[in-house]
Amino acid sequence: MTAAAVPLTVAVAGIEEPTSDVRTLRLVSATSAPLSPFAPGSNIEVQCGERRNAYSLIGDPRDTSQYAISVLRVADGSGGSRFLHDEVRRGDLLTISPPKSAFAPPAAARHHLLIAAGIGVTPFLSYARAFARTGASYELHYVHRARQDPHAGLLGLPGAAVRRYVGRESLAASLPELLDAAGVGTHLSVCGPPAMIDEVLDLARTRGWPEHRLHSERFVGVEAPAGEPFTARLARSGQTIAIPSGTSLLDAVRGAGVDLPYLCRQGVCGECKVRVLAGTPAHHDLHLTSAQKAAGDLVMACVSRCEGDELELDL
């Protein structure tokens, strides 16, 4: 049912470089269509040359005059961030997707305990702006490597209770106390690299936090394994597609002309979920719950493969 999102054309209206490896782009609509408001924690896909990367919107969710994203240069990445750092100039046009809500704050929380590492702080920047308007109670614990803080502007927000940590160890030392001191009705939201998220959530679980009060967004996904070759039979189109080792199910299916939507390509976002009609998927994603994985009727085409020779898919 997800209607195909209509891409938007935006112009780069401003570029800031708060540190040597972070670039903040301000984007305005380049057409008569206004930008839409968005849920805090939303991201947009940006066409970066050949690649499409997802970035959190860091501005005010109700500000429809511009979008802002913060891009960390990933030197050994697939090239999307290098494109936005090296190729893009003020005034250039970019193609983006409409905002997608992937990590919205839980409305029913009486207090938000936010923990972010590095560039993982970006979704919380729009949280903070939304909370400033609604008066929601929150505190942000933000760990970063260098003494430089690319998002120092956050400290100026009204109502912000921000504590900064330099280095993972200094946050780790404070975590038990943070988790134990949280009042009734507090929800914990964590964003950063997977290892850091796992560390925080595992500690929260052992200290008695119920699962439904834990929220996270992973900023680095999984690598798709090369895997064994297998065959995908597409029930709706009647096609049979061979997936060689080293090619993802997503790429093979799209290569055969099926418009399967995707976003992160890292088993995180859930966009390329496909219903499995027969065969057993080999799950490598972070999106499906363990119950969903056990049920075996869904597969994330970007990273997951087949346990055996053949999958029949609802495509």
């Binding site: 049912m1 997800t2 209607a3 999102a5 209509v6 839409s36 408001p37 968005f38 849920a39 805090p40 969710p61 109700r62 500000d63 429809t64 409409p98 997608k100 809500s101 919205a104 839980p106 409305a107 029913a108 929380a109 939304a130 308007r133 609604t134 439904h212």
Partner: protein, 341 residues
Amino acid sequence: MTPADLLPQTLPARIARFPFPFPRDEYRYTANVQPAPAFEPTVVGGWGDTVVEVDEHYLAELEERAEILAEDPERSITLPHMKAAAWDAVLYTLQGFADARPDVARLSIDGDRVRWENDLLNTAIEFVVGDESTLPLDPLTWVGTQVQEDICLLDQREGHLWLDAGLVTFAADWSLAFDIGMSFLEFHGPVPRVHEAGVMPAAEQFLMRLTPEQAYRRTNWTLTIDRRMDVSTEKYDVWGKDRRLLTLEEVGERVHLRVEVQHLVRLPVSGAVMFYIRSSMLPMHELLLVPEWAARARAVIEELPEDMADYKGIARYRHLVVQWLDAQLEADDPQSAAEAA
């Protein structure tokens, strides 16, 4: 010649734009959702090209809503965590009104400052999003002074939807104050048949995947005696007895086909799911102006299984409606009228 050509040239808008809900001669519960807005033609006109609908009952229904709220403030409830959703609903609804009726309404937004003009009410107001003191009422109750729609706001958490805010003055045999805080599956608990078929979990899954880019809608229906908007559980003592006192002679004037057009919207900032419930009614004697509708409604009402008729509250008198429609349809049919002569 199409049936529409045989009709009077100037059917009033309440008939021409009536969202007649029956595509076939029998009715069962389904999720029956479709993208919105989209014009749905009927034999005499059509409906659905706007999300907010303003009709000839506008002033009367808003006045009635104000009276209902004055007597029973619990018809509008916003749980504390739904304030952001209520503001979202205000902005979405005013935009929907301005889109539907640019001839009488204007919305301009500059950051958090909003200016709204509604000529139908001679209203011109400026307010600040997020600042309740700039509106005369709480946001959800206030926006209910501008549109005829009832509004429900559902929070999405823990893998379910929860009815945590609403402005519902025109409920068809339910109660917002009773249902508030319930999950989607809980407040649909009394609906017969749908649970065995798994309709409700599927509908909930559908709603949880809604995105702000695309609204959807569905219709629901019942019969209401007299043009009574407020047939809530709270007022059962007032309207309940009509169902057993109704006589055959009264059917044409008093029994109304009541259709709810429900729009389903993902609000952009709060992420809440919004239901508009817009109730329209046509009395049986007006339904008869469109013979296809009268015949179709007659078939549906007669065929409806007893448990569904009971849930809709029409089990006691639907035979009278069928009997009345039969008599009228027969009298209107030139062939049978000739045979009778």
